[in-house]
């Protein structure tokens, strides 16, 4: 717990661990490829869907109504009855209020909306609640973070608390902060969700990957968000 507090106090954005080129690309609001998804998300926000009204017709201008919203996710949602991430919250809104058909996880239609909404919180500090109905999920996430997994038998903490800043081949190990996600990853040549990034980490330690939407992934996201408390959001981030 001491380690957790120490690292939470010195949280460093994921982009700090990238090369000068990647840092410049993230900072360039035109050339940042993630902005293509944000632009598309803005269009999706304004346009009515086949089965219902546009996001905008209920929520108004996203720059006002969605400001700071993403910084508070994952969050316990009373209507859904569990802790959900922003993407799941938007998907629930689409299904319930827009009567729209469900979209597969990691589909472009879902990514563009979560990227656009999260972009409205850019520069605002991450601030999630881990009390009350969110506590059990947070505890689960914390437990997972410190649990060894996979053939390499490593927990998140081994790389991202004890070894960040060290060099692994040509890469600098990051703190595993979530503030830039959904992010554009050069390796994937696409925008991707934090869950996809976490699943890649499971793969990296040769562990079984939880499916998209798995409660364990949401629990880890909540733990990471709490650990990143105060770190300014920077969606869409760019990563190697």
């Amino acid at each position: 717990m001491i380690a957790v507090l120490f690292f939470a106090a010195s949280a460093m954005a994921g982009v700090e661990f990238q090369s000068a080129d990647v840092r410049a690309l993230q900072a360039d609001d035109f050339a940042n490829p993630g902005m293509l998804w944000v632009t598309k998300g803005e269009r999706a926000w304004r346009e009515p869907v086949a089965t219902g009204a546009a996001c905008q017709s209920c929520h108004g201008e996203a720059s006002k109504s969605m400001k700071g919203v993403a910084a508070a996710y994952p969050k316990f949602d009373a209507t859904i009855g569990r802790v959900v991430n922003l993407d799941e919250r938007i998907e629930a809104c689409r299904r319930v209020n827009q009567k729209a058909p469900a979209l597969p996880a990691e589909s472009e239609e879902r990514l563009v909306l979560s990227a656009f909404v999260a972009h409205q919180s850019r520069g605002l500090p991450i601030q999630v609640s881990i009390d009350g109905l969110a506590k059990a999920t947070f505890d689960r996430g914390a437990a997972l973070y410190f649990t060894r997994a996979g053939q390499l038998n490593l927990a998140c903490t081994h790389c991202h608390d004890r070894a960040w800043g060290k060099t692994l081949l040509n890469e600098t190990i990051s703190q595993g902060q979530p503030e830039g996600w959904p992010a554009y990853r050069l390796e994937w040549q696409s925008l991707a969700s934090l869950q996809r990034r976490l699943r890649a980490c499971f793969y990296g330690v040769r562990a079984e990957q939880p499916p998209f939407g798995d409660p364990d992934l949401v629990a880890l996201e909540l733990y990471l968000a709490h650990r990143a408390k105060g770190l300014p959001m920077s969606v869409p981030g760019v990563r190697r």
């Binding site: 081949l169 040509n170 890469e171 050069l186 390796e187 040549q189 890649a200 793969y203 990296g204 190697r240």
Partner: protein, 154 residues
């Protein structure tokens, strides 16, 4: 054609057809001279006058920033008409051709390229009046430290 050259060229062709994508990351250097000759029609190629900005070490070959600046007055009589990029270790070495003219005002292009491994990148500039200049730059392309889901897909 010498036997060695023949082996290299057929090897490259077969490699494209038969090898899985991951193996192609180690594909051999290809001779890009025929591609250059196709542009120049055999005219002499000089050096100088071309500035190429590429990172000395690229951390992901999927997206390497590249900036090309060619010296030219860019007048209707004397201008850069095209800029070609070749990457000799890419499965298809012709990366891009840009056509410009006097109305460009400046012969300068920025883009992002894919580089299939450490290699020499060639920039060939074509000027009005059938003149050519060339510049080659070495780039070291590193691969990721962690085993990644993307590699499982390819």
């Amino acid at each position: 054609m010498k036997r060695r050259e023949f082996l290299v060229s057929t090897g490259a062709t077969l490699g494209l057809a038969a090898l899985p994508a991951a193996a192609q990351k180690f594909q051999p250097v290809q001779d890009i001279r025929p591609l250059i000759a196709q542009v120049t029609g055999g005219a002499a190629v000089e050096s100088g006058g071309i500035e190429v900005e590429l990172p000395a070490i690229a951390e992901n070959g999927n997206s390497v920033p590249m900036r090309i600046k060619v010296e030219s007055p860019m007048t209707p009589q004397d201008h850069v008409s095209a800029i070609h990029i070749f990457a000799e270790r890419n499965p298809r070495p012709s990366v891009a051709t840009f056509h410009l003219g006097a109305r460009s005002g400046r012969a300068e292009i920025s883009t992002r390229v894919r580089l299939a491994g450490t290699q020499k990148v060639t920039v060939l500039a074509a000027y009005s009046g059938n003149r050519f200049r060339m510049k080659q730059v070495d780039v070291l392309v590193t691969s990721a430290a962690c085993l990644d889901e993307a590699m499982a897909e390819t």
